[in-house]
């Protein structure tokens, strides 16, 4: 079965400092990994994904994520945080070996990490 863990419920960082939001995963095959962001009163928005290729993936709003197969991690990073980055961040993994009747594109989400960037 696929699963994702986000070990931190909250991350607090000062504006201008680098930020990291952690994610580890468990899959039965090759991982397809995603980050989504949820701003208050808004729907989830796709940030970036790792399917194959370079371990460092670049996404929207200056975010990037590093895939580490040996550590089964896919941490989200940004070199310089902005106050406007404050939001709820979700890591997700795609079902790569679905059970019969299950959808290949079904996503399994972590519990989310609340990022607060203070001025």
């Amino acid at each position: 079965a696929q699963s994702v863990a986000q070990p931190e419920d909250q991350v607090n960082v000062a504006e201008g400092n680098p930020l990291t939001v952690k994610c580890t995963y468990s899959v039965s095959g090759n991982p397809y990994l995603f980050w989504y962001v949820q701003y208050p009163n808004r729907g989830l928005q796709f940030l970036l994904k790792y399917i194959t290729g370079d371990n460092l993936v670049k996404g929207s709003y200056g975010f990037e994520a590093e895939f580490n197969k040996s550590q089964t991690s896919f941490h989200l990073k940004k070199p310089s945080a902005l106050v406007s980055d404050s939001a709820l961040y979700f890591c997700a993994v795609r079902d790569v070996r679905p059970d019969r009747g299950s959808t290949l594109g079904r996503l399994y989400f972590g519990r989310g990490t609340q990022l607060t960037v203070w001025p």
Partner: protein
């Protein structure tokens, strides 16, 4: 509109009442997903449509939950005889690709259901 639209945004129901939640996906999107997001949790898969066909309903928690997408566009999630444990935000997402296999889903703002 340009995005996924859900209605109502907020619904308060008395226990035992039936509710219907509507999703209007992005025009032309083949795939439509429903997810349930309980307080403090990540979204959990409920069901998937490819056009009008419901190909996966393995995440529906009970037979009180029913979803349809009769013309391959608008979808309705119906919950019969609501229980307090049904209180959650119900998210609809659509994708251009079958199965949403690219992983890039477009989510609506959700319908927050509170069952008293």
């Amino acid at each position: 509109g340009a995005g996924v639209s859900q209605s109502p945004r907020y619904k308060v129901a008395k226990r035992g009442q039936d509710v219907a939640l509507r999703c209007d996906p992005i025009s032309g999107h083949v795939s439509l997903f429903w997810y349930q997001q309980a307080l403090g949790q990540g979204p959990e898969f409920l069901t998937y449509f490819q056009n009008e066909a419901q190909l996966d309903k393995s995440g529906l928690p009970s037979d009180r939950f029913f979803a349809e997408r009769p013309e391959g566009s608008v979808s309705t999630l119906k919950i019969q005889r609501t229980q307090q444990e049904d209180s959650a935000v119900y998210l609809c997402a659509s994708s251009l690709t079958p199965g949403g296999i690219t992983g890039e889903l477009f989510f609506g703002e959700g319908s927050r259901l509170t069952v008293l």
